[in-house]
Symmetry: C2
Subunit: 125 residues, 2 copies
DNA sequence: ACCTTACTACGATGGGTATCGTACGAAGCG
DNA sequence: CGCTTCGTACGATACCCATCGTAGTAAGGT
């Protein structure tokens, strides 16, 4: 879907920095569950949930390289879990709470609750 | 333990057919989400939920080979989602509802509800 | 203009996993 | 005792995916 080579000509500059998001109709439960099944991504989602606001990618201190971080954010965005947009040099990410709650009522909250419960059970970490 | 060419001798028979299950303390949220993120496995779990009983593996008519079916049931069992035991030649599978509800309250129900909602949204299939 | 910060794209790599076919083992039935 | 049904184990294959490093683009500050 983004394999285009993008013509080196004009390039309106602003249009380049648009990010593709799935519409609500395109969001699949299996994709959401898969996105949330990675420890790093679940951690990102939990942080986004507690601040209940958009955060820049660089706010997260993840034990992986920057390119890997980019990869995880893309998985979250393409599965419909988060929404991303550029603000200056920063790329802000926020949960698609309303969309998810409408599509899958209670799912996000129970996953977040389960993650918190498990973190407590395992001594946070 | 059984890589041998098969010694035709004693072979206690009953001890062979025990299945390993994770204890509650060993069940990980990420593992559960991963197990549920596969369409086939989600379908199995949904069927187990509606009948609210144990079902034999062969009851499911899945569009994959028998060995693949075995694989998916094993993933579900090793992640802690289902419980399995032999009954005669059949292998019965049932949801570990109580364990999951205790570990992750509301999670299973919201996933099942989300799956049902999505099935309705996509025209069942 | 330059430099810094922030993020991306690409290619590579290693491990995971979904799939299959074949061959075999265990229970039950005739 | 055969035969059937049900499921497993194993090896192979092909694809997915998490990870990295390098090189590059975009926006903003000085």
């Amino acid at each position: 879907m983004n394999a285009m080579k993008w013509s080196p000509a004009v390039t309106a500059a602003t249009s380049t920095r648009e990010l593709a998001h799935p519409s609500c109709a395109e969001i699949r439960l299996e994709g959401v569950l898969h996105a949330l099944s990675d420890p790093l991504r679940l951690r990102i989602v939990r942080e986004l949930a507690v601040v209940d606001d958009e955060l820049s990618c660089s706010h997260f201190e993840l034990p992986v390289s920057k390119s890997t971080t980019t990869h995880h954010f893309r998985v979250l965005r393409e599965s419909g879990v988060i929404e991303q947009n550029y603000r200056g040099t920063a790329k802000m990410s926020g949960l698609r709470r309303e969309d998810l709650d409408r599509l899958f009522p209670g799912l996000l909250d129970s996953v977040l609750g389960a993650a918190t419960a498990q973190a407590a059970r395992l001594g946070d970490n």
